[in-house]
């Protein structure tokens, strides 16, 4: 049997090893995305709506952080969580929470930078109208986030896509331990090096499907935005 056929067989027969890996991967990436949203959304909105002396350098750094190398993030989180590190007492190294932390660090700048850009563009449009309507600060922030909701969901999906596809950070802080911290990307790397191509291809198919689904959802959100918000 060819590797491709075996890969499909593993997927369709619900191979427990394969689907456990998929489940953990989605759980880790989703948790990291939600955490990144919690930090990134207010941070992006704050930078978009406030004026302070070092604002432009902050924006440049934030945009640069979108391209953070995952292995460097993995190394930094590893150093922080290792026994001798400042967070060593938490005992999280080589556990799924460590992987969530690493991915959160990777995804937060993406969500914060895209939120900043989206809110700032909208604020440029709304500023004078809001001034004439005497819109207060709190109502202003809520209105901007609400009116930008479709674009912000797209930013969140971009963050999830980045988390789901990354391998460098989680392999360092997770250790790729079978049945515990092994995810789709780390498994693909390992199984390919071992020559176990059917499992690697099966996982690859799932990963590609997730990426396609995310993009389809992002496209749907954009269409919904055009339809319902104009």
């Amino acid at each position: 049997m060819s590797d491709s056929y075996l890969a499909l067989h593993l997927l369709l027969t619900g191979d427990p090893v394969l689907w456990d890996i998929v489940r953990l991967s989605i759980l880790v990436s989703l948790s990291a995305t939600l955490l990144a949203l919690l930090f990134g959304l207010p941070l992006g909105a704050l930078i978009a709506l406030s004026r302070f002396p070092a604002r432009e350098p902050v924006i440049i750094v934030l945009n640069a952080l979108m391209g953070l190398p995952p292995v460097v993030v993995g190394l930094c989180v590893y150093l922080a969580l290792s026994r001798s590190g400042p967070l060593g007492s938490w005992g999280l190294l080589f556990t799924p929470p460590a992987m969530v932390i690493a991915q959160t660090v990777l995804v937060t700048p993406i969500i914060a930078a895209l939120t900043r850009q989206t809110i700032e563009d909208l604020w440029t449009e709304y500023r004078e109208e809001f001034a004439a309507m005497s819109v207060g600060v709190c109502r202003r922030v809520v209105a901007l986030i609400w009116d930008a909701r479709f674009s912000l969901v797209t930013a969140m999906l971009a963050g999830f896509g980045r988390a789901a596809a990354e391998v460098g950070a989680i392999i360092i802080v997770g250790g790729n331990i079978q049945g515990f911290t092994r995810t789709m990307t780390t498994s693909i790397a390992l199984e390919t090096s071992k020559g176990n191509l059917p499992l690697a291809m099966g996982l690859g198919l799932v990963l590609v499907s997730i990426v396609v689904l995310i993009n389809a959802f992002a496209w749907g959100m954009r269409r919904a935005g055009e339809r319902f918000a104009g």
């Binding site: 449009e125 309507m133 207060g136 109502r139 918000a229």
Partner: protein
């Protein structure tokens, strides 16, 4: 037309107002007294400072020199002034959603917003498109929605910045009818336009501006019958003021 009693915030008095943007003087030595009554229409060529007068009176632009004083009894009630821009920005919501936001901002209680929104949509003739995204409305409809949003503040003074500038005759007629109806309700309309025909149709009082200066101000019928300054005569004759 007859007009009801004076709005309590008026008159608004410009005292030697100057507005600068860097080295450029946009308004200079503006001294005006705008009282309650029929619409006051600011006319003048492009760049004469009409919009800046409205924005300064609304408090969106600060004078570099001079003062603007609202000297009526209700002068502190700034919420009851509203401005409609030449190109109003529609929020990314439905027509009704835009109005609900304006009503909430104006401090209208949640339970009263729905009925008030319906009332305002009816007033501007937009009930049929209440659920349509505001950004999909035509230019004339957007302008009417902007008027309804402004009316959510229940204004005593309504500033209109070239509200028909980019509209077809039908859209212009609809806006002018609303403006007349509002004036008859006792709302003081202070409006900028470069359309002399529109000024003739709506104005009770005219202020002619040129290069940031007031050239002439007075009753509309007197102004159009015989302007007293050479610049005003040239403007009415259709000559370019440069």
């Amino acid at each position: 037309m007859s007009f009801p009693a004076a709005a309590s915030q008026l008159p608004v008095v410009f005292e030697d107002v100057q507005v600068r943007a860097g080295a450029v003087v946009i308004l200079d030595r503006i001294s005006l007294r705008i009282t309650a009554g029929p619409p006051t229409v600011l006319i003048g060529p492009n760049g004469s400072g009409k919009s800046t007068v409205l924005r300064t009176a609304m408090g969106l632009v600060s004078p570099s020199r001079g003062h603007i004083r609202w000297v009526g009894a209700g002068a502190t009630d700034a919420i009851r002034r509203a401005l409609v821009f030449q190109r109003p920005v529609m929020l990314r919501r439905s027509t009704a959603g835009n109005l609900h936001f304006a009503l909430a901002t104006a401090g209208i209680r949640r339970q009263h917003r729905r009925s008030r929104a319906i009332e305002l949509l009816r007033l501007v003739g937009l009930e049929a498109v209440a659920d349509r995204p505001a950004r999909r409305l035509s230019g004339g409809e957007q302008q009417r929605l902007a008027l309804a949003r402004a009316l959510a503040r229940d204004p005593e003074v309504l500033f209109l910045d070239e509200p028909t500038a980019s509209l077809d005759p039908e859209g212009t007629k609809a806006i002018e009818e609303i403006v007349r109806a509002l004036a008859l309700r006792g709302i003081k309309i202070i409006m900028a336009t470069h359309d002399l025909s529109e000024a003739r149709r709506l104005a009770g009082e005219i202020v002619l501006l040129h290069r940031g200066l007031v050239v002439e101000m007075g009753r509309a019928d007197t102004f159009f019958a015989g302007p007293s300054t050479p610049d005003a005569r040239r403007f009415l004759a259709g000559d370019l003021l440069v």
